[in-house]
């Protein structure tokens, strides 16, 4: 078996905050003897940006090389992965189900800068 699929809920109880991301990264280290590890994000209600960033930052090279990939079918989670890919200058590989083809998420197009105004308080 070339790949090992692991549910995100097996790596941590909750998928919010940097602390839980670190916890998941430490748990993930037990599986890195496999050639490829696919983390299935579909079993959780919400995955936070900080959580994903912390998890990925522990394994930037492995994620960039595709040794660690993600299974995800949620648009907002994909946006988060693409933002991390942009900020950390890496590729993140994703697919929507175990049998769907992989694609590298790309840096999302950032919107134009938010307009700013000087205002006075009452």
């Amino acid at each position: 078996m070339n790949k090992y699929v692991i549910d995100i809920n097996e790596l941590t109880k909750m998928c919010v905050t940097r602390h839980r991301g670190k916890e998941a990264a430490e748990e993930l280290s037990k599986y890195l003897d496999k050639p490829t590890v696919e983390i299935d994000l579909r079993g959780t209600e919400l995955v936070s940006l900080s959580f994903l960033d912390e998890l990925i930052c522990h394994y930037l090279v492995f994620v960039n090389d595709g040794k660690i990939k993600f299974i995800n079918n949620d648009k907002s989670t994909e946006n988060k992965l693409s933002r991390i890919a942009a900020v950390r200058s890496i590729k993140v590989y994703c697919h929507r189900s175990q049998h769907a083809p992989f694609h590298a998420v790309v840096a999302e197009e950032y919107a134009a800068p938010t307009p700013m105004f000087l205002v006075s308080k009452t």
Partner: protein
Amino acid sequence: MNLTFENVDHTCAGAVEHKAPIVDLSNVTFFRPFAIVYLGMFLRYQSYCGKDCSVILPNNVIARNYLTRQNFWDRFNLKGEVVEREKLNRVTTRTSLNDIVDIENSSTIGEEVGMMVKKVLILNHVNTSISEVSNAVSELVDNFARHSKETLAAFHMQYYPNKEEFTLAIADCGIGIRRSLSSNPEYSDLANEPHHIAAIKAFEPGVTCSTGGMGLTEVRDSIISLNGRLFLSTGDEFIKMDADQIAYGQMAYDLTGVQVEVSFPVGG
């Protein structure tokens, strides 16, 4: 008088005009969450500076009881006689946490407070993306716990069923965003910039004093997706943020640290 983001700094600035600060709340009939935590941090900061503050309590019974229900006096006023007297009126409701929560620098405080907020929203059958709101709360609280360099920040939340609005506020009197960010050599130039420049910078992804830098980005994302709004004061400046724009300006009082209020429209 409603005490809000718009005027609480003037109340504090007025208080320090006296040799021994006097906070006059006598005309206050309603407290917004920002005003409560800002006032709390003002009292705490004065205490750090060795100044004994006097507080003139609201004449309005409802406003006064609200502070009591939120355990305001226990949290911020160190005078035992006021705490004991006001405790007699402490009753609870189901639309807030019924307490101002102390945010300690612990690794799980963000998710703990996020879960507390989630319970209140579920209990009230609030029609919003409860997961996204509680995630934003977790990230905001976690951000304070990680970066304030203070043992304690204060968190307060209130659900307004009639206004169909959920509001939370969190504050500290720590080192503030500008000093925190400029401790990173990459952002050292911010030390000479106005506070609002550093505050706006902190919402960009990857911008941080140490590692990480995604928590406030996520809060900003939630404001955009849920059509919320944010007030943030740090030092002598503030920023106001909604889905479309950011405004900035001067605070009447230069309070150290960071004080934030975030509101989301919700259905009942």
